[in-house]
């Protein structure tokens, strides 16, 4: 059995995100990191592999992104993936969610994974939708915001976090599953794994290698065209209550909420 984990390189959480007005895309210069939600997906894959209820032969990390995205793959491999695939091509730059999902699905088609895992959102775009788009192209069931995964009857029993509570869904494989950060506590990569990451196979694929129709990807192939961007209005300064006497602090918080008819 093969698990593919979709990963993404995103601006580091400490970097203030902004749209580059000249391109209409997110400014991705500066410090970057592996999307933290994806580390939960890798951990979920590792736990399926180590759990033993499924015979997982291989975990493959897959990303689409510029040259620098190799670093996200190195980190994914240091967290446990066996090898990685870097889909990179100038023609892919500027792809919207639908185009990105299509391109990733094409790369995955060649791999024929039994399970595709990914973080439920990226720390930059925060669209929550890539999993569903990929699943649609792969004609596989899509489950999102999964916070518990158990192997039951050869398939996966998933607990989804929904606004109204939890859904428990039994899904047969193959399936595309996006996971929430409550699903697990990702392990630290060991130093040996970090140092061994560069020795694990890394395949670089162009759009053509993956059989991607270039007219469906990139800025021109995307149906979403971004127009004007505005910075969000500056937040008003908050109120800081010094907690000197907890009863008094609670009273102040309750009064504050009450004033705004929030309780």
């Amino acid at each position: 059995m093969k698990i593919c984990v979709l990963v993404k390189e995103v601006p580091d959480a400490a970097v203030e995100k902004r749209i580059d007005p000249s391109t209409g895309r997110m400014d991705r210069s500066g410090e970057k990191n592996l999307n933290p939600y994806d580390t939960h997906a890798i951990e979920a894959a590792m736990q399926l592999k180590e759990g033993g209820a499924l015979q997982v032969d291989e975990i493959v990390a897959v990303t689409m992104g510029p040259e620098s995205a190799v670093r996200a793959l190195h980190k994914a491999v240091s967290l446990g993936a066996d090898r990685s695939i870097h889909l990179t091509d100038a023609a892919l730059a500027g792809s919207d969610v639908a185009a990105t999902g299509y391109a990733l699905a094409k790369a995955l088609e060649k791999e024929q994974p039994d399970v595709v895992l990914l973080g439920q959102q990226s720390d930059d775009g925060e669209c929550y939708t890539i999993g569903a788009v990929v699943a649609e192209h792969l004609k596989a069931p899509s489950l999102t915001q999964v916070i518990k995964l158990d192997v039951v009857d050869g398939g996966l029993r998933c607990e989804r976090q929904a606004e109204y509570g939890y859904d428990t869904v039994q899904v047969s494989l193959p399936a595309v599953i996006s996971v929430g950060d409550a699903i697990n506590e990702p392990r630290y990569p060991s130093l040996k794994a970090i140092m061994g990451a560069k020795k694990k196979p890394l395949e670089t694929a162009s759009a053509a290698d993956a059989g991607i129709d270039a007219s469906l990807v990139g800025g021109d192939g995307s149906r979403v065209q971004c127009g004007e961007f505005k910075a969000p209005p500056a937040k008003a300064a908050g109120t800081i209550i010094e907690d000197e006497d907890t009863d008094a602090t609670v009273e102040q918080i309750v009064a504050w909420l009450d004033e705004r008819k929030l309780i």
């Binding site: 190195h74 630290y188 990569p189 060991s190 130093l191 140092m195």
Partner: protein, 395 residues
């Protein structure tokens, strides 16, 4: 002169001189991993450990899982990382607490290094893999109550008795002593200084803990008492036959301190910057006052200088060019700088600077040990003086 058209990257206060740009991706990933570990497992708890004067034994296992223990050694389950990567790990560990870095230094650079460098193949096989995993803890006994800067005057003696050795003496200020599964003990013999591996539970060997410390409280410090301890000759480190044996180990550990001190200083600087921006006096953050900004600027300069110095020594060590005199300069400069930064940060924090709610007084007290252990600042100055003049002031 050519004009550059690319703009310099934005300035990051926590890496003012962009020292990150001097590190490889792999070095940064190792550093970030240890930093994350420290942020999650050490920082939230270490104030309490310090107050209660303890360090959880499980921390060694967790550090073993990370491959930090003996990470710069090769084979026997060790990671085989570069000296620079090891230094970066020491920096992050000591940004958490000098006691945590001491645990790792003593385990990896003193106990494991002694076995790795001077031990027999059997000794390496027996101890190193377990020590790398944190399953076994090691300590290093050189210093004695009356032999500190002058280890050659040690009184601990080992005498041959048939095929065996009999050890008598006392070691002092031994980090990890009471929790150790194996102690590397150095003793005078008729043949010169020799090292011995003394397993826990050996008859006549005890390791009582030293209490009432006001520094390195999140660290175990002990005496080692050897009262007619009988050991087979196979317990002797066969490759070590002079004081050069233990001194080589200390040089390894001191190298880690050069980095660690920079980490402790950085933690104090960060606490001071953060505090000064949120502490309101005279209706404005105290960071608005020039005197505070000057202090922050001087602290930041020291932290960046210390980090660059540590990195330079790391690159020299990886190139096989590092001399013990270089390490002396690094330890002297960086621990003194860290102490100044800690003391300044302590003042910026006012009364809050003396509580364990903030890291500053803990680092400040710890550094008071770091400045004298593994070679006092004074002796390191004399080593440098000797190298500059050709005249030894202490031998």
């Amino acid at each position: 002169m050519t004009a550059s058209t690319t703009a310099a990257p934005a300035l990051r206060p926590n890496d003012f001189l962009n020292i990150d740009s001097l590190l490889s991706d792999e070095e940064r990933l190792i550093r970030d991993t240890v930093r994350q570990f420290v942020a999650r497992e050490v920082v939230p708890n270490v104030g309490e450990w310090f107050e209660e004067a303890r360090i959880p034994r499980e921390l060694a296992n967790e550090l073993g899982d990370l491959n930090v223990l003996g990470m710069h050694l090769t084979g026997y389950g060790c990671a085989g990382a570069s000296a620079t990567a090891y230094g970066l790990a020491c920096m992050e560990l000591e940004a958490g607490d000098s006691g945590v870095r001491s645990l790792v230094s003593v385990q990896g650079s003193l106990a494991m290094f002694a076995i790795w460098r001077w031990g027999s193949e059997e000794q390496k096989q027996e101890w190193l893999p377990r020590m790398a995993k944190g399953e076994a803890i090691g300590c290093f006994g050189l210093t004695e109550p009356d032999a500190g800067s002058d280890p050659g005057s040690m009184r601990t003696r080992a005498r041959r008795d048939g095929d065996e050795w009999v050890l008598n003496g006392q070691k002092m200020w031994i980090t990890n002593g009471s929790i150790s599964d194996v102690a590397v003990v150095w003793a005078q013999t008729d043949e010169g200084v020799r090292g011995f591996l003394v397993p826990r539970g050996t008859p006549g060997f005890t390791a009582p803990e030293i209490h009432k410390k006001l520094s390195l409280r999140a660290s175990v410090t002990s005496e080692l008492v050897l009262d007619d301890v009988r050991l087979p000759d196979s317990a002797r480190l066969p490759e070590a036959n002079s004081l050069r044996g233990p001194l080589s180990c200390l040089n390894e550990a001191r190298y880690g301190i050069v980095w660690g001190a920079a980490g402790a200083a950085r933690a104090c600087l960060e606490a001071a910057v953060e505090y000064s921006k949120t502490r309101i006096q005279f209706d404005k953050p105290i960071a608005s006052f020039q005197i505070i900004q000057q202090r922050l600027a001087e602290m930041a300069t020291k932290v960046n200088q210390a980090t660059l110095l540590a990195l330079h020594l790391g690159r020299l060590k990886d190139a096989g060019q590092l001399r013990n005199e270089h390490v002396s300069m690094g330890k002297l400069a960086n621990v003194n700088a860290a102490l100044e930064v800690a003391r300044t940060a302590r003042q910026v924090l006012g009364a809050n600077g003396i509580t364990l709610e903030y890291p500053v007084i803990r680092h400040m007290n710890n550094l008071e040990s770091v400045v004298t252990y593994e070679g006092t600042a004074d002796v390191h100055a004399l080593v440098i003086g000797n190298a500059l003049t050709g005249i030894s002031a202490f031998r």
